[in-house]
């Protein structure tokens, strides 16, 4: 250590590095100072209506939980209308404090859904800020309530329309399957009717909200108190107190966008009951909104709304989605209320809850509207047999009336109404399953009267039914003989009494027959129909037919006599007393008294080979049996024709005059006459000729002497036309009718002499023909006589024949020869006559052609009498 110490050179430092320290500190301080000045914040004045709940230095301004400012001062504004709150905002919030920025006071809120920021609860109110767009400014008017949070990426904002707010409030939770997924962030009135609730759904659940999601209120407790018990339903404890909204999500639908609008339903049933349809009814007295639609006692839907329309009452109804497949084409809806009757009360709970709409599903596709029936449809219960009963009038049976058999109830009447044509009363009735076998297809029902008075000579019997019968009436089943059971919907008869029933069935056992007659023939319904004086039926009705001015008379003939109604059957009126007086005697026919009083119809059969025309009602038996046909004749008024005058053909009676009436112009008689059926066809040709035959007394004799007693008759000759007619004109004198192919020719003379129509033509004294008529020749130069030679003598006359007048007495007085008186027969003396002689035998060469004219010689040449040609037949 003895080494020489080297000189130590100490360099004096002017500044120690330690001086950096204050410099750094200074720089740091300066920087901090500058920074603090820079970050001192922005002063903003917010005008509040009141300063309640705000403290200087304590009340903070927060944005999404982040404190961005602080109240630094408060002062009353100039107008004393509020307070100006001076807020020092964080310098970083400067870009957000613009025209659109909103400030509002948030009061701490402890709701059942949770304490909204425990900090707020203790730290007091704070001012919330919602940044906005626009120019920067520093004076703001505070919002009175929290604005709806603008949707951001954090979630979905939807609007839910409701008619009332209920217990919903800002903060009420939104549930999805009871998981809270969001909350109500605001609500306001939309117009005057709707409330628009704005809800926020968190981002992770936003996709659950579909465009067709249904929102419903789960607020509070839903208590469904009914006679069946009390059902309490609630979503969660929170929603009981704070209200809440739940919603459904259909996985197939598209996700709802922001601001999508939904409807808030009253409850889940209503929300999910998505299928709407209409019910159309006549009345809605017992239907109200919320009237349940019930199927087998389960509510499957309800009436939403009812309104009046042209078709009646339209009830808008909804059926729960759960049951939508039940809504089918053939579904039925009907009203059902409490049923109070003397037999008891059914569904007493409906007295309080109101009627329900009962429902029965069917098959097919759903329809948009259904009729609302007043009563259960027929197929409500398959076990019960539904029948349609019909009666002519309502015998005091109302719906609910019991149907009994041996006083045991076997069913009931469901409804009563008029049939479509208003002719009958139609009842719907059901027969209990146990008794279905009692009702056969020809069973019928008789009203059970509540009060029955049977007064007769033996005494008075009064019987009463039970009280139910008195009010509703009752029907008693009368079993039919048919083995086939009545089928569903079969139509059976109801009768007011057993008598009615038997009368009806009596009538049922009748055969109906319609007759046509030109007058009502004194007949009325009930007039008897006789066969051989035995009543076999009666007239059911008499109707006038406008189209042909005839009467249609309907008859009912008992079935037992059905065999009488054949094609040979004819009908005629029964006169009370028929006197058939003729030269052959007097026939008096007295109808049965009943028929005499009411008029009546008899029935008879034609002979086996004849066919009746079926429909005619004849005036008497004879006409009927002869199947007379009516003709009308126009006759000159001079004819002395009277009713019952016969119509004859060659003396044979073929018809009879029925009536004779003088026409108004007094020139003609209109004669209605019958032609007997078998001859009718022969004498109704258009050119058939009718003439009046009257007695003609002359020297030649008396023609038609019977007419002196019976009056003139009508002669008829058939025509040759094929056209038929029923009205003819009758001549006074009968024209010649070449009936048997007689030889017709003319005779001419300058005077008629004693020749008359009917003057006979004699051949060798034998009458072979006669003169039929005569007339003046057209020039007036002579007389033309039409004559004929009977067919069997035709060959005796030919063109070589000569004719001479045999009339009168020829007195030939000569001086020497004396007097020679030549006469013919007495008849010729009286009536005149014409002789004929033929020179040559008849051959084809000299045959008389039709209408050939021969001269009528005055005198007989003696030689003519010698002519005796041998005629060949």
């Amino acid at each position: 250590m003895t080494q020489v110490q080297t000189p130590k050179i100490v360099k004096k430092k002017l500044f120690s590095p330690i001086w950096l320290l204050p410099i750094i500190a200074l720089a740091l301080g300066a920087w901090l100072g500058i920074k603090s000045i820079r970050e001192s914040g922005i002063e903003v004045t917010i005008h509040f209506p009141s300063a309640t709940g705000m403290d200087i230095g304590k009340t903070l301004v927060k944005y999404q939980g982040l404190t961005v400012g602080k109240v630094v001062d408060m002062s009353i504004d100039d107008t004393l209308q509020g307070v100006d709150v001076k807020v020092l905002m964080d310098y970083r919030s400067a870009p957000f404090i613009n025209d659109g920025t909103k400030f509002w006071l948030v009061k701490p809120k402890a709701t059942i859904t949770g304490v909204e920021g425990l900090d707020t609860l203790f730290s007091g109110n704070y001012i919330s800020i919602l940044p906005g767009e626009g120019d920067s400014r520093s004076y703001f008017e505070a919002e009175t309530k929290a604005p709806v949070i603008t949707p951001g990426v954090e979630g979905l904002i939807v609007h839910i329309k409701s008619d009332k707010l209920g217990s919903l409030d800002v903060g009420s939770p939104i549930f999805y399957r009871q998981i809270p997924v969001g909350q109500v962030v605001g609500y306001h009135l939309e117009g005057t009717d709707d409330i628009l609730v704005t809800a926020f759904v968190q981002q992770q659940y936003a996709e659950l909200v579909k465009v067709d999601s249904q929102f419903w209120n789960v607020s509070g407790i839903s208590v469904d108190a009914s006679f069946s018990g009390i059902k309490v339903n609630s979503e969660s404890l929170a929603s009981i107190l704070a209200g809440g909204i739940s919603f459904s999500s259909n996985s197939h639908s598209s996700i709802a966008q922001n601001n999508h609008e939904f409807t808030l339903f009253e409850n889940e049933e209503e929300a999910l009951g998505g299928i709407s349809f209409n019910l159309i009814g006549d009345g809605s007295e017992s239907v109200s909104n919320n009237t349940s639609i019930v199927y087998r006692g389960i509510q499957i839907g309800q009436v939403v709304n009812k309104r009046l329309s042209d078709d009646g009452i339209i009830l808008s109804a909804k059926i729960n989605n759960l049951y939508q497949e039940l809504l089918t084409d053939s579904a039925h809806f009907w009203l059902e209320g409490a049923d109070i009757s003397l037999s008891g009360i059914k569904h007493p709970e409906r007295l309080i809850t109101g009627s329900v709409i009962n429902f029965i599903p069917g098959t097919g596709a759903a329809r948009s509207s259904y009729p609302l029936l007043q009563h259960a449809p027929e197929s409500t219960n398959n076990k019960k047999r539904l029948l349609t009963l019909s009666a002519n009038s309502n015998p005091g049976v109302s719906s609910g009336a019991e149907i009994r058999y041996k006083k045991i109830k076997i069913g009931q009447v469901l409804s009563s109404q008029l049939s479509d044509d208003f002719n009958k009363v139609v009842y719907q009735a059901e027969i209990d399953a146990d008794f279905v076998e009692l009702v056969s297809s020809n069973s019928y029902f008789v009203t059970e009267s509540a009060f029955e008075l049977d007064a007769s000579i033996e005494g008075v019997k009064v019987s009463t039914g039970d009280l139910n019968t008195l009010t509703n009436g009752a029907l008693t089943l009368v079993r039919g003989t048919d083995k086939a059971l009545a089928k569903e919907g079969d139509n059976l008869n109801v009768f007011a009494s057993a008598d009615d029933a038997s009368a009806f069935f009596h009538q049922q056992g009748l055969i109906s027959k319609r007759l046509i007659h030109q007058d009502a023939a004194d007949l009325s319904p009930g007039s008897p129909v006789y066969y051989k004086k035995m009543q076999i039926g009666e007239v059911t009705q008499v109707n006038w037919q406008a189209n042909d001015n005839n009467f249609a008379i309907d008859l009912a003939i008992e079935k037992a006599f059905a065999s009488l109604l054949t094609e040979r059957t004819v009908f005629w009126r029964n006169s009370a007393l028929a006197i058939n007086a003729s030269l052959s005697g007097v026939e008096v026919d007295v109808a049965p008294l009943m028929g005499a009083l009411k008029g009546g119809i008899s029935l008879g059969l034609l002979d086996a080979d004849r066919v009746s025309n079926g429909k005619n009602l004849y005036d008497n038996q004879f006409l009927a049996l002869s199947q007379a046909q009516i003709i009308t004749l126009s006759v000159p008024a001079s004819a002395r024709l009277a009713a019952k005058a016969p119509i004859r053909y060659l003396g044979h009676k073929v018809g009879e005059v029925e009536t004779v009436t003088l026409t108004p112009n007094l020139k003609e008689l209109t004669v209605t006459a019958y032609l007997y059926g078998e001859y009718a066809a022969s004498f109704t040709q258009q050119d058939a000729s009718y003439s009046i035959v009257d007695a003609n007394i002359s020297l030649a004799g008396i023609t038609a002497p019977e007419t002196i007693l019976t009056g003139p008759y009508i002669e008829v000759f058939p025509g040759s036309s094929s056209a038929k007619a029923s009205s003819f004109t009758a001549a006074i004198a009968s024209a010649f009718h070449n009936i048997d192919n007689a030889l017709v020719f003319n005779l001419s003379n300058n005077t008629l002499g004693s020749v008359k129509a009917g003057t006979a033509i004699f051949f060798r004294g034998v009458k072979i023909g006669q003169v039929d008529s005569y007339e003046l020749s057209p020039q007036g130069t002579g007389v033309i006589m039409q004559a004929h030679i009977e067919n069997k003598y035709k060959h005796l006359v030919n063109s070589t024949s000569v004719f001479w007048d045999l009339s009168g007495v020829k007195v030939d007085v000569g001086l020497f020869s004396g007097a020679q008186i030549e006469t013919g027969s007495l008849e010729t003396i009286l009536a005149g006559g014409i002789g004929v002689a033929t020179e040559m035998p008849t051959s084809s060469a000299n045959q008389i052609t039709n209408e050939q004219t021969f001269p009528l010689n005055k005198n007989l040449e003696p030689e003519w009498l010698n002519w005796a040609p041998k005629q060949e037949l």
Partner: protein
């Protein structure tokens, strides 16, 4: 005061120096202490500068320490930031005067007094101010002794931060002023520590003595 003059013979004048580490009196010539091998220095003139620098830094830091909040207290969600002074004011308001006095002394009075005291001390050395050496030394000792109590505030803070940590309900956190305040205390302590007190004696003794003597 001849006694004083006699005894005022300086060690450096007689070639002796004191080991600052083990306080062994050693010969001036040696560079390292023969006992503890610590570097020996007769007089550290640079310590004045160091002390000044530290002191000035502390003085600068005194401002943020008092302006900025020293604690952030979250009480039931409400956040209150307290500066040292507002904390004391709060204590006064809540009628805790003794604690307020202690806190005021420790947190405001002491650091300020320390800085003022040290700056007087250093000024006395640097500018050879005519202040009694005895008074200066007494003051210096007081400063050195009391300086450590300034840490009370920081101690309270660190203890509170460690213990009170209940989230939003009640939470205390150190605020920026705490650091500054800690630095003020640290730097003043360092400033007091770094100074070579022998310089005071060297420079002032004669003059003071003479002044006292005369």
């Amino acid at each position: 005061m001849s006694n004083n003059n006699e005894t005022a013979t300086l060690g450096k004048d007689i070639g002796l120096t004191l080991c600052p580490t083990c306080h062994k009196v050693t010969c001036c010539k040696s560079e390292h202490c023969s006992r503890c091998d610590a570097p020996l220095i007769v007089r550290d003139y640079a310590s004045i500068q160091k002390s000044w620098a530290l002191l000035i830094t502390a003085a600068i830091l005194l401002f943020p320490a008092n302006i900025y909040p020293i604690t952030t207290l979250t009480n039931q969600g409400r956040v209150t930031q307290d500066t040292i002074f507002s904390g004391i004011a709060h204590l006064v308001k809540t009628d805790m005067i003794p604690i307020a006095i202690i806190l005021f002394t420790a947190s405001i009075l002491v650091p300020i007094l320390k800085i003022v005291g040290l700056s007087i001390y250093l000024s006395a050395i640097t500018f050879k101010l005519p202040i009694s050496k005895k008074k200066l030394m007494t003051g210096f000792h007081v400063i050195e002794w009391i300086g450590r109590w300034s840490m009370l505030d920081l101690f309270v803070i660190s203890l509170t931060v460690a213990v009170v940590n209940m989230g939003q309900l009640l939470d205390a956190k150190p605020a920026p002023a705490a650091t500054a305040f800690a630095l003020v205390i640290l730097l003043t302590q360092l400033a007091a520590k770094v100074i070579d007190t022998r310089l005071l004696w060297d420079r002032l003794e004669a003059k003071d003595d003479s002044s006292t003597n005369t």
